[in-house]
Structures are given as structure tokens and as C-alpha cells.
Amino acid sequence: MSDVSEALQEPWPNLAVQREGVSFGIWVFLASEILFFSALFITYAVYRSFNPEAFAAAAKETELFYGTLNTGLLLTSSMTMTIALRAATVQWRGVTLVALALTAALGLAFLLCKGLEYHDDLTKNLFPSAAFPLAAPPAQLFWMMYWIMTGIHAIHLSAGIAVDIAVLLLFWRRILPVQGSTMEGVATYWHFVDSVWLVLYPLLYLVGRS
């Protein structure tokens, strides 16, 4: 099949090994990414363990509505991404393209919500500065973590959306065959970005609600 020969890339002996290799490589990269975020989590954990009350008070100021909505959006996008992957494995081009487009749209919707949320936060002066409204200094630590964590997550998500759209275009213009290990890599990365948010959500939005 011509698609298969196109899909086989240089050093790989055959398509099966290539598929396994790409998925393996992506996971090695994700292990690296896990450690990347873990440096943030350790910072958060240390600061929170020393300032539990200040963190609880500060976290009350986050927008739970946007946070939960965004979590839902990302979970939905993970679902559509998986459908795209499943469709790609049976080489159903149409479904793959639609599901990829949906995924990208959900990702963009997340970013839009995030933008609105950032806007609200900034109106409330919640970016640590002289005008910061909360009295306890460690509250600023929480908000420092909030901005860095969500910011870095947003950068990762943007990269995910960019890759998603790029693959969508490549598939659509038939530059890449729909069957192929590319899709698996994209999907795994997307789910990872989603997973990071699933950890951020309780750390940033669910603290101090009771």
C-alpha cells in the first residue's frame, strides 16, 4: 500500500517498530515534561505546607466557574482527540479531520475562557504587586504560583493546538497519510497537557472553598 511506504521513515526497519518507537519516544519526552512541571509542584507544595491559611484565603479569590468550565472543556477535547486517533487507526479520514477540528476548537475555547478569567483577575489586581489586595504576604506566593502554573500550561496548550491544527492541515491536504504514527504522538501530547490541568485544578481552584 502506497500510504504505508510513505509513512515509513528513515531509520526504522518496518512500520510496526516505527509505531512503537514513536510512541515510546513520545513517552520518554512526556517523562521529561512530568519533571518539568514537578519543579512547579514542589515549589507549590513547599510554600503551601508553610502557609496553609494564606493559601486557602488566596485560593478563594480564584474563579471557580471558569476553572471548572475549563476542566470540562479540556476533558471533552481529550475525548474528541481520542476519537480522532481511533478514526485514524482505521484510516477514516473524514471523522479524523472533524474530530481534530473539534479538538482544536475546544482548546481555543479553553484559551478564551482563560483569557476572560485573566482579565477578571487583573481587574481585581491579583497579579502580585504593590496594589495586591490580600493582606497576608504569602497570599502573593499563591498568586505567583497561579500565574506561572496557568501561564506555562497555557503555553503548552497553545503548542498542542498549533500541532493539532498543523496535523489537521497536513491530513486535509493529503500531505501526510492519515494512517501513521503522527496521530498517536499528537494525541498523547494532548492528553498530557490535559492531565497537567487536572492536577492544577484542585491545587488552584478547590483550595479553601469549604
Binding site: 531509520p11 526497519p13 512503537e20 519516544g25 518539568f36 519543579a39 514542589i42 506555562i152
Partner: protein, 559 residues
């Protein structure tokens, strides 16, 4: 030498095109995905940076001849040693052996056509160049003065040098090392040729695997620590601001979680290289192969749990000091085993003293001293006295320069004929090896002494009682500089005037020697199959004459 016929070794066929001939334009080099060409791109880049870093420290050593300085301001001095540290750590040592020899040899040694992700490999070089561009910018714009460790709050709030650009450079080059790591791990897992089982991997491949593990799992943490510094400096976020309840010591935890394993990124490949060289020039199987493998993996894993020994005086708790001290002693065990194994490899060998072997013997001696002084730093009371002094400086230079750079040189000389197809001038190579060893000892031995006596590091002006040691050290540095320039000259000359090397000038067993020199674009003309353990140098049995250099049993052949 070149006319020895080897069993199974392919003769150079007419029309076999080496990777060097696959394209001669600059574009063909800049867009290549051939791991061998990328290795050469890396080799050229790190050589440039090695000499930039060398010039920086040359000026520092010159300045230190006089206790009150000669020609630099304190700011100038601080910027020079910082740039020396940043360049030597991230732009030379970390990529040195993995990105050059690892890139070139790993696929050859395991019988693959290329690394798993060739385009990612090229990207990693471009990331290196991107990071390098930032660093060059820092150099031109006026430097950075935080020390290579970027400790806040100095780096985040107080320094008025180019911290952000320097951090960006290191951040970007970090991703270059992650890309290399991902590539090597995947390559080793997925692309071993038939017959190449895990325990037939040459030790160099194992060292690359262990190194990649460290690169992949440690480097991202460094990247994040730099992001946090930049967040504090550029956006005024109170990340490590003690007044807001933040903790500057936390940065040190995160930073050393990378930067101690980074030492193993630098030394593990060196261990791999000298294992190959010792086996080849002692004509013996590496003593205790499996122990060597386990030792390397143990170093890579336990190496992650010892970072706190950099923080014994930083305000860490007493319990943490004890735990990290204990783990640091533990991680020294596998290193010691490796030294014993190399020594035992020499026993009953047929030892030849070619240049690579001289460099490797230099490595063995210097690494032993570096490792032993590591024990001093692992024991808390002594560390309290000598940390942040020249003792530490001498210790890590013994490991990184005496160890890694010696091994780097050994590797360059060992595989030079394979990469270029040429032989270099043996006399000058040996002369440089001996000069390097002597110059190195003269530079760094005095630093142990003055460090113990209480000479702090990163000092521009210093108490005159230490002048004698500084003068000795600077003299040694001058010798060392000459010793480093020599290979640059004779190796470059060999490209044009060197004798043809033949495919296997050392009669080595590895798969990389069973192809042509320089290798063809896809490494092997025919599919390689591995038929034996590595290092079967002893299989030939007793030498038949006093000058016998019988070819050993090659590890594999092409079918």
C-alpha cells in the same frame, strides 16, 4: 597496519561513498539529518565554545597572579568566571561526549542506520545554536555576574547584568539536551540490530543510555528553575522572595536536582569512552562487564538523590544533611568499583601505549583523585570547611576536566581514524597527552591546598598568603592551554596530511570498526548482525610473537 586482512571485515568497495562525500555544500551540512554529520556540526560548535570558555578562564588565572588583581575590575572578574562556568558546563561539557561521539557512534555501535528521530537530532543542534546565540549576545552585551548557579535573590533582584538572556540561553540549550536524550533512549531501545542483546551492548552505549536517562529526567527541572528566576526578575513575581514567605533555598533544591545529576551527564560518557579504550589497548575483555553496567545504571539513578550535598551550609536541616551525606557516600561505591575494574582490565593484558591509551590512563589517575576528594565533600564537617573554597573548585575540575575532558580527548583520538579516515601524528598526540596530564596537576593540585587552608572561590582579590599557590596554578593553566591547542593543530593538519587510516587501525572489535572509515551514509553497506559479546580481544589466545597484534574476534559482521 592497514594491510591486515580482518575476518568478516568488509573491504572498501569501489563506489562506496562516505558520509563526508554525500554533499559538499554548506546547505547540505545545515540541513543534514545524518547523525554523523550532526555529530561533526556539534564537534565544531563545542570546540568553539571550549576555546571561548578557555579564554575567559585564562584571563581569570592571569588576573589572579597578583593578590589585588592586575587589569580587571571586580565586575569584569565576576563576569569572566560566570561566563566560563556557563559555557563550559552547558555549551561544552554536557554536549561534549554525548552530542559528538554519542551521536556519531551510538547508531554505528548498535548497528542502526541512524538515530531514531533524525530530524529531532538536527533540531537539537539548532536548539544548541539558539542557546549559543543568546550566550554570545550576553558576551557581547556585557556579560552576566551571578555565577553559573544563578542563586536568587542575587540573580533575581540584585544583579544588574544580563541574567535573563543568560538564563534563556541555558533554557534553550537544555531542550537540546533533552532532545538528544529522548533520541538516544529510543534508539537504544528500538534500533539494535539482530543479535545485539542488552548485555552485548558495548559499555559506551550503556553509558549513553544512562546519560540520556539523566538528561531527560533532570534537565527539565533546571529549565523550570530558570523560568522561575526569570519570572521573578522580569515580572516581579515573589517566587523566592523571603519577605513574602518564599524561600531562596528552595531554588537551590530545584537547581541542584538538575545540576548534581548534570555532573553524571558529564562523567558517565567519559566512563564509557575509557572502557572502550582500555579494552582495546590492553587487548582484554573489560573486567566485570555486568558489574560495570550495573554500576553505571546505579550512578545514574542514585545520582539523583544526592543533590543536597551542595547545600550543607545553605540552611538545610541537619537531618537532610545526614541523609544526603549518606547517599553521597553510597553513590561513590559504583564509581570506585569502576576504577577497580579498569585497573583489573590491565592485568594480564597486552598493553599498548598509543595516544588514546595515554589519555585514558590520565583519566584513570585524575578521576581517582577527583573521586576520593568527593568523599571529603560528602562528609558534612569537612564539607563545611571546604565548600565554596578552591578545594571544591579543584575537586570538580578533577572530575570534569581531568575526567571528562581527558576521556573526551581519548575518544577523539581513538575514533578520529573512523570519523575522518586519517591518522594523526602519534608523537604530538602522546606529547600533548603527557603535557595535559602534567599541566592539569600543576593547575589544580595547588587549589586543593589553598582551598583547605581557607581560600574562598569566586574571589577577585585575595589574601596575599595564597599568592604562591595562585601563581603555581596560573602557570599550570598556561601549560594546560598549550596542551589543548596542540590537538587542535595536529588533528586539523591530519585532515590534509594524515596517512589513510584503513577501516580498523586499532584492531578493535566493535561494530563501528567493521564498516568503512569514514562510514557510508547509511553506516553499513549490508545489514549488520551481532555474533559475539563485546571486547573479545582475548579470544585469539596467546600472542604468537612479541609484536603480534592479531586481530580479535569482531563483535559482528555485515551480511
Amino acid at each position: 597496519m592497514t594491510d591486515v586482512t580482518l575476518p568478516f571485515a568488509p573491504q572498501k568497495e569501489v563506489g562506496t561513498e562516505s558520509f563526508l562525500d554525500a554533499g559538499h555544500t554548506l546547505i547540505s551540512w545545515l540541513t543534514t539529518t545524518d547523525h554523523k554529520r550532526i555529530a561533526i556540526l556539534y564537534a565544531i560548535s563545542i570546540t568553539i565554545f571550549f576555546f571561548i570558555g578557555g579564554i575567559a578562564i585564562g584571563l581569570v588565572r592571569l588576573e589572579l597572579i597578583e593578590p589585588s588583581g592586575m587589569f580587571l575590575t571586580s565586575d569584569g572578574y565576576n563576569r569572566l568566571f560566570t561566563i566560563h562556568g556557563i559555557i563550559m558546563v552547558w555549551f561544552f561539557l554536557v554536549p561534549s561526549i554525548p552530542a559528538t561521539m554519542g551521536n556519531f557512534l551510538l547508531p554505528l555501535m548498535i548497528g542502526a542506520r541512524d538515530v531514531a528521530f533524525p530530524r529531532l537530532n538536527l533540531l537539537s543542534w539548532y536548539l544548541y545554536v539558539g542557546g549559543a546565540a543568546f550566550t554570545i549576545y550576553v558576551l557581547v552585551a556585557g556579560g552576566v555576574d551571578t555565577g553559573w548557579t544563578f542563586y536568587p535573590p542575587f540573580s533575581s533582584d540584585y544583579s544588574n547584568s544580563h541574567v535573563i538572556a543568560a538564563a534563556a540561553g541555558v533554557f534553550v540549550v537544555g531542550f537540546s539536551s533533552i532532545a538528544t536524550g529522548v533520541n538516544f533512549i529510543t534508539t537504544t531501545h528500538m534500533l539494535r540490530c539482530p543479535g545485539m542483546t542488552w548485555f552485548r551492548l558495548p559499555l559506551f552505549c550503556w553509558s549513553m543510555y544512562a546519560t540520556s536517562l539523566v538528561m531527560v529526567l533532570a534537565t527539565p527541572v533546571l529549565a523550570m528553575s530558570l523560568v522561575l528566576i526569570v519570572a521573578e526578575r522580569a515580572f516581579g513575581l515573589p517566587v523566592f522572595d523571603a519577605a513574602k514567605g518564599g524561600d531562596p533555598v528552595l531554588f537551590q533544591h530545584i537547581f541542584w536536582f538538575y545540576s548534581h545529576p548534570a555532573v553524571y551527564i558529564m562523567i558517565l560518557p567519559a566512563m564509557g569512552v575509557v572502557s572502550e579504550v582500555f579494552a582495546c589497548f590492553a587487548r582484554r575483555q573489560v573486567f566485570g562487564y555486568t558489574f560495570m553496567v550495573y554500576a553505571m545504571m546505579a550512578i545514574a539513578v542514585i545520582g539523583f538523590m544526592v543533590w543536597g550535598h551542595h547545600m550543607f551550609v545553605a540552611g538545610q536541616s541537619q537531618l537532610a544533611n545526614l541523609v544526603f551525606s549518606f547517599l553521597s557516600f553510597i553513590v561513590a561505591v559504583p564509581s570506585a568499583i569502576k576504577v577497580f575494574n579498569w585497573t583489573a582490565t590491565l592485568y594480564r593484558g597486552q598493553i599498548g601505549f598509543d595516544a588514546p591509551m595515554l589519555y585514558a590512563l590520565g583519566f584513570l589517575g585524575l578521576f581517582t583523585i577527583g573521586g576520593l576528594t568527593g568523599l571529603f565533600l560528602a562528609s558534612v564537617p569537612i564539607d563545611i570547611q571546604v565548600t565554596d573554597t578552591y578545594f571544591v573548585v579543584a575537586h570538580f575540575h578533577f572530575i570534569m576536566v581531568g575526567g571528562s575532558v581527558s576521556a573526551f580527548m581519548a575518544g577523539i583520538h581513538y575514533w578520529w581514524p573512523k570519523v575522518t579516515g586519517r591518522l594523526y601524528n602519534e608523537f604530538w598526540a602522546k606529547f600533548a597527552a603527557i603535557t595535559m596530564f602534567l599541566g592539569f596537576n600543576m593547575t589544580f593540585m595547588p587549589q586543593f591546598l589553598m582551598g583547605w587552608e581557607g581560600m574562598p572561590r569566586r574571589y577577585h582579590v585575595y589574601p596575599p598568603v595564597f599568592q604562591i599557590w595562585h601563581v603555581l596554578s596560573s602557570g599550570g593553566a598556561a601549560i594546560l592551554a598549550i596542551a589543548y591547542i596542540m590537538p587542535l593543530v595536529y588533528l586539523t593538519l591530519s585532515l590534509r596530511y594524515g596517512a589513510r587510516a584503513g577501516n580498523n587501525p586499532w584492531h578493535a572489535t566493535g561494530l563501528e570498526w567493521q564498516t568503512t572509515s569514514p562510514p557510508p551514509k547509511h553506516n553499513f553497506e549490508r545489514r549488520p548482525v551481532v555474533i559475539a559479546d563485546p571486547y573479545m580481544y582475548h579470544e585469539i589466545g596467546q600472542p604468537r610473537s612479541s609484536h603480534d597484534t592479531s586481530p580479535p574476534l569482531p563483535q559482528g559482521r555485515q551480511i
